[in-house]
Each structure stands twice: as structure tokens, then as C-alpha cells.
């Protein structure tokens, strides 16, 4: 390397440093907006609109405080009352999950906490939740997806649980669009990069491709955690005199786009300070934070705990205080900063990752700090829980924050955390909806001879939504922690909770935006039904539900109609199935220009299994076992994968939902697992019977001979997407018992063939035969070819 080039490089890196140089503290401190000043300058203009607040919302803040807010207070209210934190557009609808909650005694903690907690028996409690990180994953796919995983894992940790697995539900534009080539590899690497480094097995998920997600991919991450029922932790600041401790990563200027408006408005910035538009995750910091927290929980060293996610310190302080005594005092100067130039508004809004806040009794503080020191985790007492007077209590508590000796925040925390605005947004079923549902595509040309069916089958299994996912899932560690009993490509993921009893849990996440677009009410139920079915297929009993609702703008009445219908469908469905919603997440504003994505309801169902050794697997294993189709097939192609693949068509009605049938099918699958009469089971979903048979063969490389039922023509039998169906294989010796079980549970069963382990083909008798190798070539290379 030549010397001249060195000098050059030196120069340039120095100048880039200068870039980051920010204005000095003193300039800022001089014009600090204190409570006192706010009281004396009632007419000072404030940039509430830039922060996304309406006139009315701003006015309400002024009423609550009896003066104008300081800029720090405005920062807090603006983030706490944002759609993301306050659920102001969705709340009136989400209420149904509580109102229609089925009678169940499995819920230990319901909606509203960081995540719901479910009793799974033997003293074990499980907490799980799914959350979106859509927009950040579009801006910077790797970091966006990575920090999405990081955030949901902290939510689970906060409940007192050890996170034990993650799942990911992904949506991208068309497989061959350039946008997908940019976004998908980064998203997958980010989910893997973060989850693998935390040592959490990835046990399942889904990936769909559709035009509508171009420019607006969906990244929904789920985490599940486990604890003893007596180890549940809550986000509340109780006990006046207790310490408020901030621990984990230092606070930087991450994700404070909004705050810079405030800072510049209040502080007459010379130049716009550089604040990162992208949050970078540090999975190592999170891994030690997890171990540190678990050690803290085990020693019972906290009164309450809260993770710092969206809205960072604003959220953690107001929510902890709101759920506790209502009183808290914080000295913001004490917060450890990564960037010393941050002003209070920025510190309050920062979304820096890998941070937690705990409430710690004075007599436990030393031990708390010692555990943090052991794990090299920075921990700082930044405040105290205080008592409130009855008068303050009536107004919503009292949270005060100081900065450089001045009071800059003095608000009733409950008004920020619990009493945000609630909107009944206009709802209107769009006129286009009729056009969309009118034509079910029954006139679309179908293959009508064996050769045509064969070609269609190969085309289907090689289509983006049905092809092998292993190019993606092989980037995820599924073995770590040594308790993964089932993972992709099985119908559900399954985790052993306890090596001594073999008790375990199963999880599946599912959703289909096309179905939901055609009929949001049944679309939501179809997603629920599929996840429910997948869990039961593994042999586990479904217990509880989490959901992530990805929609366009709530200000669009058509979108709000989709949303309200979907929520109603989900709440009704959960009531009928008897499994409560424990929590979830709403992501609005998923749209490019004014075009919203397909309404995408992603449902996670959690189930329990008392002995994971009796899990039912997907692949055909026993030579000569009979193959049965469970359930009934109808001519249902509305929103189907076939219409999408063969004709790029979306229209008609989605498959009929029949939750009573789903329940009977589930009971059958659970009973059959209990009695260990099944060789394999695989549910039917997108792509119909053909897809499930191909997957069951390829999973174990087993051949099969199939005689299709003659109820409908072979095309319908192969590709229809009727619900409440599954393919199972049953060893001959168990066939009689299996038949009895089907009769008991009132589930239609049709013998459609048998497994032939020596055969190297999937043979549809009288129609066509395809070599397993040809199936595998078609199915398995699609994603690899695209992304390598």
C-alpha cells in the first residue's frame, strides 16, 4: 500500500468525524424548557403537529397539565399517544377479545401486560407474543429484522420468563421483483443473525410472496418463553422509596426522528444534529442481558420490570409508574448515554435497543448491581418510586423528571400511559368489495387431462408460496437449547419444557392475506383455524392465541372496515374454539402511496402436550401404512394458490370456515396421538391435497400410491383449499382403532392410498406418476436459485 493513499484516507476519515460533532451542552442547557418556564410562557408555539399530534390531542395535554407542556413532556405525550403505543384507532375493536373471552382457567395474565401468560400444567407457565417490525425492515432489512427479534424477546423476558424459541412470519413482494432481492436476504440474515446469536431456536414461521408487499414487506416475529407459575413478573413500580434502575445498553440517539423536530424547535439548532435513522442491534448485549435478568429473577431481586421498546424511557417510566403507586422521580442526568450530546427530549424518545428498567428495593440493590456486574451489564439508579397524595392519585399520579437541576417533566403518568385518545374511526365497506367477491374464478381454464394435472402439480409445488423454505430456514439454528422436538418444515414447532416429564408446547403461526382481502371476517378465522389445526396435527392441544394485525391506514374507512371485520371474526372464532387471545400487536399504515397491502392477519396458536415423545410428525415413515384424507373436500378456489399461480387471479369467496369441524378434527388428531395410532399427519392448506402429499413424501423420501376420492373431479380433489382437512398415515395394525376414533369424533375419513417406502415415486393411480426426484427438483430449488 502506498504512502500517499494512506494520507488521503486519514484525511477523509477525520472529516467524517467532524460530521458527527454536535453542538455543545451549554448552548442547549441555556434554553432548557422547564416546567417553570412552561408555566410562564403559555403562548409559546410548540411543534405538536410535526410530532403527529392533532390540535385536539395537544389541547387535551394542556388541559391535563393546566399549562402548556414542556418540550420534554410534549415528547412523552406525543410518543405515548402515538398509534403505535396507544392503539388509539384499534382499541375500541380489540376490546372484543376481552368481551368475548371464552371461559378458561389457563390465563394467568391476560391482555394488556407485555405479553399474556398461560398455565400449561405441572407448575409451568408460558408467555408468547408476536410483533411487527415492518417499516424498519424495509429501510434496512438486516437491522430492521434483527431488532424486531430483539424487541419481542425482551417483551417475553420482561414477564419473568426464559425465552425458549422464536418464529417469524414474513411477506415480500413478488419473488422476482428487485425489491424482494434487496429485502429478503437481509431480513432472513437479520432474523437469523440476532436469534442465532441469542441462542434461541427458530421453530417455524411462514413466507409469502405477493405483489402488494412490494415496498412494504411484513416482518412479524414471535417469541415464546417459559417460567414457573410463581415467577411471573409485572411492569409496575410499587413501594415508595424503591429504586428505579436503568440497565443494559447505553442510550443513544436511535429512532428519534420525531425528537429532532422538538430539539430544533426548542433549541434553535445551528445545524441539524445527526441522528441515526436506523437502529443497530447488538445481540451479544441482549444475550448477556437475558442471562443477567434471569439470574436477577431467580434471586427475586426486582419488584417490577419493564423493557424499553418503542418510546423507550417515556414508555417505561410512565407505564411502570402508572401501574404502581403512580409516583416516580427520575434524574435524567444519571442515564448513561452513548452520545453525550443528547438532550432530554431525545433521551426520552430514544429507542436504543437492549435496555431494561427495574424497580428494586433498597435492601436488594447491592445484590442486583452485583449480578449486573457479573454479566458486565451497565446498571444505574436513575430515580425513585414515590408516594402520591390522594389528590395526585385522583389526577393520575405524579411523575417528575429533573435535568441539570431543573424540573422538566411533571405529569400524571396514567394520563400518558393509560388515558390516551381513543378514536372511533369511520368505517365503510368499499364498493369494490362486491366486484372482488363476485367472480370466484370458476370459469378460469383448468387442466382437464392427466398430463395437464401433472404439469399443474409440478408448477404449483415450484411456485413461490409453496416451494421448499429451507434456503431460508437453514439460516436459523433450530437445535440450540436442546429441546426442539419439532421445527420447520413440520406443521407446528414443538419445544420440550422439562426433560424429566417430557411436557412440552407446540406453536404455529399462520395467515393468508388473500383470504382476508376477500372476506376479512372469515379470513381472520381461516388464519386462526389453520394455526389451530397445525398445532393439533402435531398432537398438542391448542390453548391460547396471539395475533399480529397488519393493515393499511386506519384513516381510510375501507381499511378500517377490513380491520373491524377481521377483529370481530377473530374474537368470535376464539370464543367458539374456546382459546383466549393473550396479546398481540397492530401495525397500521402498511401501504405504498394510497395502496394498502392485503389485510394480513397473522395468528399464533400455542398448544400444550403432556409428553412430547408422542408428537406426530409430518413425513410418511411406515412401509405399507394406509393413507387417509380426513375431512371433506368442496369445490373451493376463491383466493386459492392455484388461481394465483395459474392465473394470477384473486376473486370470489374464501373457503368456508367451519370451526366446529376444526374442533372435531383437532380432537381426533389429539386422541390419535394420545393412543399413538398415527404414523404421520400433515394438515391441508394452500395448494390443497397435492401439496400435502408431496411434502409428506419428500420429508422422509417415501413413495406412495394414491387413489383420489371420486367425489369430485381430480383437479378439485388435488387443489381445492377446503378447510378442516388433514392427511394422515396409519400403520395397518392401528387402522381399526383409528376408524373408531374417526367415528367417535365424527370426522369423515377416506382411505386414499398407502406408503411404499421402496417406491421412488408418488403415484396417482390411473392419472399420473411423478418420481420423487422430479418432485424434489421442482420443489426444493426455487428460493436457492433466486437468491444465490
Amino acid at each position: 500500500m502506498s504512502d500517499s493513499s494512506l494520507a488521503n484516507g486519514q484525511l477523509m476519515s477525520d472529516s467524517s468525524l467532524a460530521n458527527g460533532q454536535l453542538m455543545s451542552d451549554s448552548v442547549r442547557a441555556g434554553s432548557m424548557d422547564t416546567v417553570e418556564r412552561a408555566a410562564n410562557t403559555p403562548d409559546q408555539l410548540q411543534p405538536f403537529a410535526e410530532l403527529g399530534m392533532t390540535d385536539a390531542e395537544y389541547k387535551r395535554v394542556r388541559e391535563i397539565l393546566g399549562r402548556r407542556p414542556t418540550s420534554a413532556e410534549l415528547a412523552i405525550y406525543s410518543v405515548m399517544w402515538s398509534e403505535h403505543c396507544s392503539y388509539k384507532s384499534s382499541r375500541v375493536h380489540l376490546k372484543q377479545f376481552g368481551d368475548k373471552k371464552p371461559d378458561t382457567d389457563v390465563l394467568l395474565v391476560g391482555m394488556g401486560e407485555n405479553a399474556g401468560v398461560v398455565d400449561v400444567g405441572d407448575g409451568w407457565a408460558v408467555t408468547f407474543k408476536i410483533e411487527s417490525h415492518n417499516h424498519p425492515s424495509y429501510v434496512e432489512p438486516y437491522q430492521g429484522a434483527a431488532t424486531g427479534v430483539g424487541g419481542i424477546v425482551r417483551d417475553i423476558l420482561t414477564m419473568g420468563a426464559r425465552p425458549v424459541a422464536v418464529m417469524d412470519s414474513l411477506r415480500f413482494g413478488r419473488l422476482h421483483s428487485p425489491d424482494t432481492a434487496r429485502v429478503l436476504p437481509g431480513v432472513v440474515a437479520g432474523i437469523g443473525g440476532y436469534g442465532n446469536c441469542l441462542g434461541l431456536p427458530n421453530i417455524g414461521g411462514e413466507v409469502y410472496f405477493d405483489e402488494c408487499y412490494t415496498g412494504n414487506p411484513l416482518v412479524n416475529a414471535l417469541c415464546v418463553g417459559v417460567m414457573r407459575t410463581d415467577g411471573i413478573k409485572l411492569a409496575k413500580a410499587d413501594g415508595p422509596g424503591n429504586h428505579v434502575v436503568l440497565f443494559g445498553a447505553r442510550t443513544g440517539g436511535d429512532g428519534i426522528g420525531g425528537a429532532s423536530v422538538l430539539a430544533s424547535a426548542t433549541f434553535e439548532h445551528e445545524g441539524e444534529a445527526k441522528r441515526p435513522s436506523v437502529q443497530v442491534g447488538d445481540p451479544f448485549a441482549e444475550k448477556v442481558l437475558i442471562e443477567c435478568c434471569l439470574e436477577i429473577f431467580a434471586a427475586d431481586l426486582v419488584v417490577g420490570i419493564q423493557d424499553l421498546g418503542a418510546a423507550g424511557l417515556s414508555c417505561a417510566t410512565t407505564e411502570l409508574a402508572a401501574a404502581g403507586t403512580g409516583g416516580m422521580e427520575i434524574d435524567l442526568d444519571l442515564a448513561p448515554l452513548r452520545d453525550p450530546t443528547l438532550v432530554p427530549e431525545e433521551i426520552l424518545m430514544s429507542e436504543s435497543q437492549e435496555r431494561m428498567m427495574a424497580v428494586v428495593a433498597p435492601d436488594r440493590l447491592d445484590r442486583f448491581l452485583a449480578v449486573c456486574a457479573k454479566w458486565d451489564v451497565t446498571a444505574t439508579v436513575i430515580g425513585t418510586v414515590t408516594d402520591v397524595t390522594p389528590d395526585q392519585e385522583a389526577r393520575g399520579g405524579r411523575l417528575r423528571m429533573r435535568w441539570h437541576g431543573e424540573t422538566i417533566v411533571d405529569i400524571p403518568p396514567r394520563t400518558a400511559a393509560h388515558e390516551g385518545p381513543v378514536y372511533q374511526r369511520p368505517i365503510e365497506r368499499p364498493l369494490e368489495q362486491d366486484a372482488l367477491t363476485e367472480h370466484d374464478g370458476s370459469t378460469l381454464p383448468r387442466p382437464h387431462d392427466s398430463a395437464g394435472l401433472r404439469t399443474t402439480l409440478l408448477q404449483m409445488i415450484a411456485s413461490p408460496n409453496l416451494a421448499d423454505r429451507s434456503w431460508i430456514t437453514d439460516q436459523y439454528d433450530r437445535f440450540v437449547l436442546g429441546n426442539t422436538v419439532l421445527a420447520q418444515p413440520e406443521d407446528a414447532g414443538m419445544i420440550r419444557l422439562d426433560d424429566s416429564t417430557n411436557r412440552g408446547i407446540a406453536l404455529s403461526v399462520d395467515g393468508n392475506g388473500r383470504y382476508t382481502a376477500l372476506d376479512p371476517y372469515s379470513g381472520a378465522q381461516l388464519a386462526l383455524a389453520e394455526a389451530f389445526r397445525n398445532v393439533a396435527t402435531s398432537g398438542a392441544r391448542p390453548l391460547a392465541v396471539t395475533n399480529c394485525l397488519n393493515f393499511g391506514s386506519p384513516e381510510d374507512p375501507a381499511v378500517m372496515w377490513q380491520f373491524s371485520e377481521a377483529v370481530r371474526g377473530l374474537a368470535d372464532g376464539c370464543q367458539q374454539l374456546g382459546i383466549p387471545v393473550t396479546g398481540g400487536n397492530v401495525s397500521f399504515y402498511n401501504q405504498t402511496g394510497s395502496t394498502a397491502i392485503l389485510p394480513t392477519v397473522v395468528i399464533g396458536v400455542l398448544g400444550v402436550i403432556d409428553d412430547v415423545r408422542r408428537r406426530t410428525r409430518q413425513g410418511f415413515r411406515t412401509d405399507g401404512a394406509s393413507i387417509y384424507l380426513l375431512g371433506e373436500t368442496r369445490e373451493e378456489f376463491g383466493g386459492s394458490e392455484w388461481a394465483h399461480v395459474a392465473h394470477d387471479y384473486l376473486g370470489g369467496r374464501p373457503p368456508v370456515v367451519d370451526l366446529a369441524r376444526e374442533q372435531r378434527l383437532a380432537e381426533l388428531l389429539i386422541a390419535a396421538s394420545n393412543e399413538e395410532v398415527l404414523d404421520s399427519a400433515h394438515d391441508l392448506a394452500e395448494g390443497g391435497l397435492a401439496q400435502s402429499l408431496v411434502e409428506a413424501c419428500l420429508r422422509t423420501n417415501a413413495g406412495a400410491r394414491i387413489t383420489l376420492p371420486a367425489v369430485h373431479d381430480p383437479f378439485i380433489e388435488l387443489f381445492a383449499e377446503s378447510t378442516a382437512r388433514a392427511v394422515v398415515s396409519v400403520p395397518r395394525i392401528h387402522e381399526q382403532r383409528f376408524g373408531e376414533l374417526c367415528a367417535t369424533h365424527d370426522v369423515a375419513f377416506t382411505r386414499i392410498g398407502e406408503i411404499d417406502l421402496l417406491a421412488t415415486t408418488l403415484d396417482f393411480q390411473g392419472l399420473f406418476t411423478i418420481a420423487l426426484r422430479e418432485l424434489r427438483d421442482a420443489w426444493s430449488s426455487v428460493l436457492a436459485h433466486r437468491f444465490e
Binding site: A189, G192, G193, N196, C197, L198, G199, D282, P283, F284, A285, K287, V288, E291, W375, D376, T473, D474, Q475, Y476, D477, R478, F479, V480, L481, G482, N483, T484, V485, R496, D499, V612, R613, E788
Partner: protein
């Protein structure tokens, strides 16, 4: 038989390695990175994971942990040491084993069930296997691409120090399909795939991995 399992900040498969040690009938002893004491163990496992995040180079920082000073010293005196995945990387960084592990050739994390051939069944950790035995155990890594100078590779081959080799495809690009190597004395073994995740049918591809841990127990018996 006491087998120590080291936990570095960022270790992930430490609990699993301890479970495998117990499944083989030995006592698993937790060793902590900051504690130089080896607590009278008869062997040490450096488990998989991303010690210190592995941001710089896998294993580069863990090598300097206080416990490693003791491990390095004891290894020179013949203490059996098995480095799995990140442990292998640490052993290379610590110069207990030759070569280094780089980012996978495909530049992606890879997690799959991998077929291997045991090329040397005479090391401290492979005596339960037969020479040439084929086994299937999981592999999962980001930096598993084994590299070394040609001369070093030739030496390793000549001295029979390639302990295991990938079959049916090379998951990470490793030179000469190398999945594991040992030191000249055969007491220190580094292995990229994870035998601790193949100790039963329920949570892994089978029981093929147990042999690594049984090899130690067999010696004591």
C-alpha cells in the same frame, strides 16, 4: 469422571454440552470464563455459541478469558479438550490447534443435519467410534470454513490429524472437507458440527454424537 463445560458471555450450547456429558454418564462441571480455576476436571468442553458476539473474529476475544489461560496450560500437559463450533474457533485462536475458521463460503449461517466420516478414531474424543465410521450430527455455524496453509494441511493429513470430514457436500467451504482436527498429541480436538445435539431421537437426528462424550467416560472406566 468430571467434565468441565466453559461458559463465556455469549456461549449458547453450554447447557446442551453439559446434558450430553451427563447422558454419557459423567459429571458436568460448570466453568466460568472469569474464573481461572478448573475445579479438578478430567476434561474440558468449550461449547458452541457466539462468545462476546464474535463480532471481531469468532473466538478471538474468548481466547483471552482467564479460564483459557488455565485451559491452555492444562491442554499442553495433556488434559483432553474438545472445542465444538465456537469452541473450535477459540482453540484455533488460542493456537492450540492449527488453522483458522472463516466466514462460510456461502456467507450465510448454515444449519443442517450433516453426514461426517470419523477419520481418526484414536483421539481422546473419538475412541468410541471406529475408523471410517459415518455419522450424522447437526451443524450450525456462520464461521465454519476451515482454512490453513497448504503445508499445514498436508502435515495434518500426513499425521492423521484430520479427525472428521464432511460427506455428501461441504456445508461451509472448508479446505479438504475438514470438519475437525486435533493437536499432535490427540488430546485437543476441534469440531465444527455439534455432537451434543445428536444424543437422542427426540431433539436431534439420532444418537450419533454421544460417542464423543462416551469416549472420555470409557477412558476413565
Amino acid at each position: 469422571m468430571r467434565v468441565g463445560v466453559v461458559t463465556f458471555p455469549g456461549s449458547l450450547d453450554d447447557r446442551d454440552a453439559a446434558r450430553a456429558v451427563r447422558a454419557a454418564g459423567a459429571d458436568a462441571v460448570a466453568l466460568w470464563h472469569a474464573d481461572p480455576a478448573l475445579h479438578d476436571v478430567d476434561a474440558v468442553v468449550l461449547p458452541g455459541g457466539f462468545s462476546y458476539g464474535d463480532y471481531l473474529r469468532a473466538g478471538a476475544i474468548a481466547r483471552f478469558a482467564p479460564v483459557m489461560e488455565s485451559v491452555i496450560g492444562a491442554a499442553h500437559d495433556g488434559l483432553p479438550v474438545l472445542g465444538i463450533c465456537n469452541g473450535f474457533q477459540v482453540l484455533c485462536e488460542a493456537h492450540l490447534l492449527p488453522g483458522a475458521l472463516q466466514r462460510n463460503a456461502a456467507r450465510r449461517f448454515v444449519c443442517t443435519e450433516q453426514r461426517l466420516r470419523i477419520e481418526n478414531a484414536a483421539t481422546a474424543w473419538t475412541s468410541e467410534y471406529t475408523q471410517g465410521q459415518e455419522i450424522v450430527i447437526p451443524i450450525k455455524n456462520m464461521d465454519g470454513f476451515y482454512v490453513a496453509a497448504e503445508r499445514t494441511l498436508d502435515e495434518l493429513e500426513a499425521e492423521g490429524r484430520v479427525v472428521a470430514r464432511y460427506l455428501d457436500g461441504n456445508p461451509n467451504g472448508s479446505y479438504r472437507d475438514i470438519a475437525g482436527v486435533c493437536n499432535a498429541a490427540g488430546n485437543v480436538v476441534g469440531l465444527m458440527p455439534h455432537p451434543e445435539h445428536a444424543i437422542d431421537e427426540l431433539t436431534g437426528p439420532g444418537r450419533d454424537g454421544l460417542g464423543f462424550f462416551l469416549s472420555r467416560v470409557g477412558v476413565a472406566a
